[in-house]
Symmetry: D2
Subunit: 300 residues, 4 copies
């Protein structure tokens, strides 16, 4: 098993960025990372969507990365460094490399969504991968990227690049369309970006998952991966359904605010999202609590 | 006529940012502004979509604004300062105010598009407007903002805020839905964000337009406004159709790269867009030239 | 002025089909047509979207047309005959011709939306127009046609066909993109398909409108057209805004059920839409009534 | 195992309707059904999307059903009877019941897409199921239904109805969201509507699939189901990828025309789709042939 394959297997948490009164709450972030470090998580995605990276200025992004650098331990850390232009993305990626992280995860540019076709994306990711020393993960997330999606054929071609080693796929249809095309021999690994389709993606060859619920329920998320690798498919399916229902309920209704509220309820420090995102009300929180109880992850 | 009404009437150019080999070409920007300063344009939109503001880092944005500050003359300048979070937007807006510009134009946050509803937008724009001294223009552009659109009712409520004085609307349907709801008495002014619907928007009460074609053909764009104000509707309609066809052809096919190619062809310095946006090929440029000829704006 | 130009000018009502207990209520239809016959309406659109034509079987469609044939008087009648296949559409269009109606209005096929491109549409409309004797109107309504839209270039080419004489455009952006391209000399006329953009469309050269509100307020709709033709633009704009606000409120929230409820409130017989469309509740009706009062079209 | 469970397991072909010169080619349909009758297919879907049911008039639909009635043999036959209104759908469904078919499959109404919410759909399907004696399958296919999708909660509630026994899901995300919510005890069965996600859907509990490729390659489609039921997951995955790639290539590029061309190439009689759908050109056909060769289903 190649080094990337080993490092990119299992469950990753796209770690949230806590705020208090709209200020970065770095102690709360540190608290969460220490708690997560004791789980079976394979690693962390820093400055991802759940990390509200686009709501932080450059200075704050570095502050967040400093905390990850200090708390990394033996976890694999991928850092979201994608911007609109190649210049910006390369600049941020070099910084992530200098700070000693394992991977950069690069979202598709999308401000000029109509102009961002497969050729432009290929050209973009290749320039980034050619310009930096840290290995690159593609990040396909049309829901947060103005509908821009990396075409399967483009993923296939980028998978041949020596410095592009995988992708996180958070498209609503899941990574089946990519997995059906990839060369099994390539050292290129796909991570499912949602608990909605993590389990079936594993049956199609996904190496692991980056699951927002892993901020809340790292144990059950890791159990699901473990049940799959042990061939316990009936139990895996049942757990997968519980996690998927919870994910759809929480992220579906409230997005990152719901994830943060759920974290608060189980002993992490989710705190508030950053303005203008609205935090969950007390009533919302009670609903979130009830959902977690209903799926049997906490007692009433 | 209120001060804002006077300042927000007529045609504005959303000024492009020229690049050479992916580097900021500030001399070319200065050249363009000096040429534009001799036209009847009411003013400039700095760091807008056509200015590729999301492709510049913070340092570069300030370099661009420095050029605008130096070349402002008697033109009205609105600066795009919208980010994903209120904190970032307020920080950038304060800087624009300190540099002496006239307005900030604030795009809708949109990374978490599903969460950005009317209430969240109202909350966002009000916090910005309450926190800064420079007057605020709303910027509604679903095509570049992941489909996020400010609901008409929200615009109506925001129009009552003393520090929110207008909006630029670049939604495909144009500003009719907003204009039908606004109090005629309010000192709130709507600018059409596209030559596609600038002329009919004037008939509905728009105060002016921010037209990407004003980078290329400032004269004819100003003529259209002038024909309208003089009641020369037949001539206005014919000119509006020529500009709309050209706009749809150029921006429709190539976006900002097409605008830049057209600028090169008529004596401005458009140069290239920033990577990964692709510049027009020689063949594209010949097509652009032919379109401008066909509409009678340059001789063969 | 050509014959089509004369016949296709002014305001048309896309006449609703009343139902009682889910049965066709032909007497109510007749009642409405007699009342409408005394207005300045140019004519009727039978079996259009507001007529719920897709909810009627073939037998019922003929029953409806029989009523129109009897009540036509001196009004121009266009009949919706568009189906998914050319064969079906030609068959229905021939029937409409035999029954003596003036035009057929043909919606875009859309079941296989991804396959229905400009070339396919051109091929479709040309085959229909070549196969029948009654003149053809294109019907562009992406909101009811799975997003299918006739490209402007296709409209331009179809406008050259001797038996294609106009179009009804109900796309959200309105007909400006078509009007900017059409040869003024051609005997091809564009009708705005919504009160939302009827007034600005007139300034761009639209010949008239097919307005669902003309089922409710035929007088004010005709007044708007008349104010425009007389150059009373300030009054026209104010009336246009009142109608647009009402239209957006009623059709926006309830669709054809709202139109029918509004008809009931002003003396027509709208009755219920057909199941599974849900009729307005008493509470909805009170809201509708209040909206009509607020815009000053009825007294409290 | 309940009767419906037994009857709704395995692979179904959504049988195409052949046309020659735009006329129904019933002999070709009969030829195809006789050839399919010798395969392991569980049954047929008559008058589905691939059957171009919306392109046939009522008379022609009955002619097609007559052929199915004659060739049914021991295959399970589900008939597409969904129209826009409850009245039409009930009328057609009664006819299908009288002709002795096993199930009706009911597409969501969608002409007034904005009005068709979960409550309306529930009300619709319940009225149909209450009014007819033949058991009902829901048909969820947003791509052909103007984006209308049955919400998971609505499916859960409808699954309790004694006469609603299953669904065909052709939404791009596949049936995972429904399967995660259904009561395992209910006699309600989900069929995957696409080879793109048939295999992972089986892992989530789908009972079978309705696969357009089963018109072309009934053997391999049945093999995939059989490999899954035998727990041969590695072989199943490899075959699933070959079928998914072929399906995406053929249906993705040409829709039903591609399926028909592929049928012609392997000994069925696909013939042409009905105008205005365009048939495959000779060049397209050569591409289709090459794709089938590339996936190893026919020899060069």
């Amino acid at each position: 098993m190649g080094q990337n394959k080993r490092k990119l297997s299992g469950v990753f948490a796209p770690v949230v960025t806590p705020f208090r009164s709209d200020e970065l709450a770095l102690d709360d972030l540190r608290f969460n990372l220490r708690k997560l470090s004791k789980t079976d998580l394979a690693g962390y995605f820093a400055l991802g969507s759940n990390g509200e990276f686009r709501s932080l200025n450059d200075r704050e992004q570095i502050q967040v990365l400093d905390v990850f650098a200090g708390e990394k331990g033996n976890k694999v850390v991928m850092v979201g460094t994608g911007c609109e232009s190649s210049r910006q993305t390369i600049e941020k990626s070099k910084l992530a490399a200098e700070m000693g992280f394992d991977y950069v995860s690069i979202i598709t540019p999308n401000y000029f969504a109509k102009q961002i076709d497969g050729d432009t994306l290929q050209c973009y990711f290749e320039r980034i991968a050619d310009s930096i020393d840290i290995p690159v993960l593609l990040y396909n997330v049309p829901g947060f990227a103005g509908g821009v999606e990396i075409p399967p054929q483009t993923v296939l071609e980028l998978s041949q690049h020596p410095n592009i080693v995988g992708m996180k796929d958070s498209s609503p249809t899941g990574p089946g369309k990519f997995l059906a095309r990839l060369e099994p021999a390539a050292d290129f690994h796909v991570l499912a970006g949602s608990a909605n389709f993590f389990y079936p993606a594993l049956h199609l060859g996904a190496a692991g998952g980056v699951l927002s619920l892993a901020n809340v329920l790292p144990g059950p998320c890791c159990d699901l991966y473990s049940l799959f690798t042990q061939g316990e498919y009936d139990d895996a399916k049942e757990l997968a359904f519980r996690l998927a229902r919870l994910n759809q309920a929480i992220s579906g209704a409230w997005g990152v605010a719901g994830v943060k509220a759920a974290m608060d309820l189980v002993g992490f420090k989710g705190c508030q999202p950053r303005h203008p995102l609205q935090g969950c009300t007390d009533e919302d929180r009670e609903q979130v609590r009830q959902m977690i109880i209903n799926e049997g992850f906490i007692s009433p």
